[in-house]
C-alpha cells in the first residue's frame, strides 16, 4: 500500500509544479472526476455480482447509518467543548 501513498505524495509535488497553470487544473479535475466515476461503477459491478452483499444490503445500510451517526455525535460533542474553551474564553 506504500505505492498508493507514494503516488499521492508525487501527485502533490506535481500539483505544486503546475500551480500557476489553471488550464491544467481543469483537465486534472475532469480526469479525477472520471476516475472516481469509473471506480464507483466498478464497485457497483462487484456489489451486483456478489450475492452475499446483495443479500445483506439492509444490514449494510444500518451499519453505515450507525457508524455515520456516532461519528457525527462524537465530533459534534467534542467540538462543543473546543468551542467553549477556545472561542468563548477570549471574547469575555
Amino acid at each position: 500500500m506504500i505505492t498508493i501513498l507514494l503516488l499521492l505524495s508525487a501527485g502533490i509535488v506535481l500539483g505544486l509544479l503546475i500551480i500557476s497553470y489553471p488550464r491544467l487544473h481543469v483537465i486534472n479535475n475532469n480526469l479525477l472526476n472520471w476516475a472516481i466515476y469509473l471506480l464507483l461503477f466498478l464497485l457497483g459491478i462487484s456489489v451486483g455480482t456478489n450475492q452475499e452483499v446483495i443479500r445483506n444490503l439492509g444490514k449494510i445500510g444500518l451499519e453505515a447509518i450507525a457508524i455515520a451517526s456516532l461519528s457525527i455525535a462524537g465530533s459534534v460533542l467534542l467540538s462543543y467543548f473546543l468551542f467553549k474553551r477556545l472561542f468563548f474564553k477570549h471574547e469575555k
Partner: protein, 200 residues
C-alpha cells in the same frame, strides 16, 4: 449534492450491470480497479497540490485553528469505536476505517474496497454519503445546540466544499475560513489514515 447524485448514479448503474449477468466473463474488473485507483491517487494528489487557495488558507492562520480538525478526528474515532461495540458483525479496525472517511465517500469507499473488501467498501460509501446528507439537513439544529463549530465538525472533509454553504449560513461568514481549513486537513488525511488503520 449534484455531484454526489452523479457518483451514486454510477454506483447504482454498476450494481445493475452486475446483476444483469451480461458482463464479459473473462475480464478482470479487480485488476482494472487497482490501476484506476493508482491513477486516482496521482490525480487526487495533483488536485491537492495545485490548489493555491488551500495552501494560502493553510499558511495564513492562527495556529489554534489546528485544534478544530484534531478535535474532529478524535471525536469521529471515538464515535466509530463505539459503533464497533454496537455492531457485532464489524471489528474495531473496520468501523474506524469507515469513520476515517470523514464524509469523503468517493475516495474512502474505493480505497477501502481495494485495501479490505467490497462489502466494507459499500458500508463506507453509504456511511460517508449519509454523513454529508445529515450535515446538510442537521447543521441548523446542531449549531443552535452545540455551538458554531458543530456544522464544521459534522461535515468533516466536506466542510471545504459541499457543506460549506450551509455552514456559512448558520455559523456565520467568519467561520467559513475555519471550515475550509478543517475540510482541507481532513481531506488530505483520509487516504493516509484509512491506509494506516487497515494495514497496521
Amino acid at each position: 449534492m449534484k455531484s454526489s447524485l452523479i457518483i451514486f448514479g454510477f454506483f447504482v448503474a454498476g450494481v445493475f450491470a452486475g446483476l444483469s449477468g451480461k458482463l464479459p466473463a473473462g475480464f478482470d474488473f479487480d485488476k482494472l480497479g487497482s490501476y484506476a485507483l493508482y491513477l486516482l491517487m496521482l490525480l487526487a494528489g495533483i488536485s491537492i497540490g495545485s490548489d493555491k487557495n488551500s495552501w494560502s488558507v493553510l499558511a495564513s492562520h492562527n495556529y489554534k485553528i489546528i485544534w478544530v480538525p484534531v478535535t474532529i478526528v478524535t471525536g469521529t474515532m471515538m464515535g466509530s469505536a463505539l459503533a464497533a461495540l454496537l455492531l457485532p458483525s464489524l471489528t474495531l479496525r473496520e468501523t474506524l476505517a469507515v469513520g476515517a472517511g470523514f464524509g469523503y465517500y468517493s475516495l474512502s469507499s474505493v480505497f477501502i474496497t481495494q485495501l479490505h473488501s467490497h462489502s466494507l467498501g459499500v458500508v463506507a460509501l453509504l456511511s460517508n454519503i449519509f454523513r454529508e446528507v445529515a450535515t446538510l439537513l442537521l447543521t441548523p439544529i446542531l449549531v443552535r445546540y452545540f455551538g458554531n463549530l458543530a456544522g464544521i465538525a459534522s461535515g468533516g472533509a466536506t466542510a471545504m466544499d459541499t457543506t460549506l454553504p450551509v455552514i456559512t449560513r448558520y455559523s456565520g461568514k467568519s467561520y467559513a475560513v475555519i471550515a475550509v481549513f478543517s475540510g482541507i486537513v481532513l481531506t488530505i488525511l483520509v487516504p493516509f489514515l484509512v491506509t494506516f488503520i487497515l494495514t497496521v
